[in-house]
Symmetry: C2
Subunit: 348 residues, 2 copies
């Protein structure tokens, strides 16, 4: 309970902060165009806001951003905690900014709804990269629903692209649902693994491995190299057990070491090869169109929901039902039924 | 893509199977009352069905089940893959049926949307328990959204309770979102851990540990006992770092071994103590009321969504937008906006 309250309190203070200054979408867009990080950060906060007052502005902002958004490569990165995601992203990010690219890191964090001090919110992460003028790092709390995260992260991608970022790294942690969400909004999906630990501790293999366009075995350094090579063979073998991908891509297994900065440029080459061959066979566009359709369907659901929760009569009826449930006068299931019937009658 | 298609195909064949025989809610309820497992399984399939034709029957079924549902203890069990959840649940389940209890095991599986052969769907799991006449085991695919899983698992709990099950074990796997969903529908939340592996590989500690009412260190047998005892001290210490729970309960850390059948009855005692003290201080009811309110809110959202997706005019407009997105004529975001505006006008 305490956590829920904290989360609520957090978002209330965020809303207040936004309210204090009158938000000008045009000014935000100007800042975004100039690649001003503060404007970009503020824009993402606006889009993430649950306040109905911000909804219209957020929509305007996304609409305008879509028209100026550049085309980036969107890369999803996942792996269980302890696999070294932060250091890996730091090194990959630095490598890319050294090449003159602009890199944005968005983190989808399924745990932050529960705990304020989630691992992705850790302030000491990616210290180097966060100081880089060509890098933008943004951990995003998931809010109430994972569907919610997905939508907002997708919109954050658009905002980053409008701000001229070439490479968007979407980081996620966990086994399952958040990966599915992230997979549905990136071009390339990378799975980080370790060689040392038993596979059974590295999370569910099947579902996540099936989504991977590449597996990078991290911490392939020092005494670990031999084991990492063995793991490489094993993972390659395991990947062969899956049916070939529709897009014709054969997932690669690479060794890398974030600490020794090894295998990072090789990985970037793989990603570039992937993009080239997907653009050649048309699948890059096919995939983005499919993702757009999913984005649309999710947005529709989300907007229908928020439409009703902006109607006073609906909110009042809902609150009455909550009171009745609280005093055990009605079962939650019947209450929902009754509320919907009431609102159906209003429709006619 | 192939996976998505498979999932769709699966649900289509499921729907066809249901359609073949005319479903009689009364007959299902009769079967459920008699504790007929086939009827219970069929009832859960009906509730899980996405077919609008089944919606009304599912609602009738839940409504009737609510009126005959007995009061069970609902226990959530989580832990990363490899921690031995299946063997643990098998032994706990057998211990409980030996005491004359009826045990239902429901599995919330966030990965099965992706992969047909998910680890929770493994047929060789819980072989003993699945043969027990007083046990019912049901792995539930998560479907599209995790919100969806939550609602359906909650309803499956009601169906099991209507069928006279005293103890409902809700199993989940993963780090994050699915635990939050399961936590919101159980009375007691158990976290399984291992002593051997480093904590960093055991998933995110903070969020999940904060929810736990007990931590059981599994595989505390053979050479592992000393390490398990050390882990017990460490986890107890870690738990003390959290602020005290509102309900006054101090989470316990236990050792157990599913293989040697040790620590299982002790765990059951802890759960019974928990229930007794929560019932005494009123928190058991407070918590269930809070969960009921969340259930209501989720059901309302879900039903609003499905209401629109049953309207022909809405479906047609949505399909037109999808076509326009597919041919790059409109951005997904604008399409959603336009669809909603159209439907708003219909409301007036």
């Amino acid at each position: 309970m305490a956590n829920l309250k904290n989360t609520q309190h957090d978002s209330i203070s965020k809303i207040r902060k936004l309210r204090k200054e009158e938000i000008s979408v045009d000014r935000l867009i100007e800042g975004i165009k100039k690649s001003d990080k503060a404007s970009l950060a503020k824009a993402i906060t606006l889009v993430e806001s649950a306040n109905p007052e911000h909804l219209e502005k957020a929509e305007e902002l996304i609409g305008k951003s879509l028209s100026i958004a550049s085309r980036s490569v969107r890369i999803g990165i996942t792996g269980v905690p302890g696999v070294g995601k932060s250091s890996f992203i730091e090194v990959l990010g630095k490598t890319l900014t050294d090449m003159g690219k602009k890199v944005a890191v968005l983190a989808v964090d399924p745990t932050s709804a529960l705990s304020k001090g989630s691992i992705l919110g850790d302030k000491t992460r990616m210290e180097e990269l966060s100081k880089d003028p060509n890098a933008f790092i943004r951990p995003s709390p998931s809010g109430k629903s994972l569907g919610g995260v997905a939508r907002k992260t997708r919109e954050s991608i658009i905002l980053c692209e409008a701000s001229g970022y070439d490479v968007i790294l979407v980081e996620t942690v966990g086994v399952g649902q958040s990966e599915i969400a992230v997979h549905s909004m990136v071009d390339f999906f990378l799975l980080l693994k370790l060689s040392g630990a038993g596979d059974e501790l590295q999370g569910i293999k099947r579902g996540i491995m099936e989504m991977a366009d590449a597996i990078a075995i991290n911490k392939a350094d020092g005494n670990n190299i031999e084991r990492a090579k063995l793991a490489q063979v094993e993972f390659s073998r395991a990947l062969h057990l899956y049916p070939p991908k529709e897009n014709g891509w054969v997932p690669k297994v690479l060794l890398c070491s974030a600490i020794e900065n090894k295998g990072i440029t090789e990985l970037w080459e793989v990603i570039q090869n992937f993009c080239k061959s997907m653009k050649d066979n048309g699948y890059f566009e096919t995939n983005r169109r499919l993702q757009n359709k999913n984005w649309f369907l999710q947005t529709v659901d989300e907007q229908i929901r928020s439409y009703f929760h902006q109607q006073k009569s609906f909110i009042t009826a809902e609150e009455e039902m909550l009171k009745a449930i609280d005093s055990n006068q009605i079962s939650p299931y019947h209450a929902a039924r009754k509320l919907l019937d009431q609102f159906k009658n209003q429709l006619k």
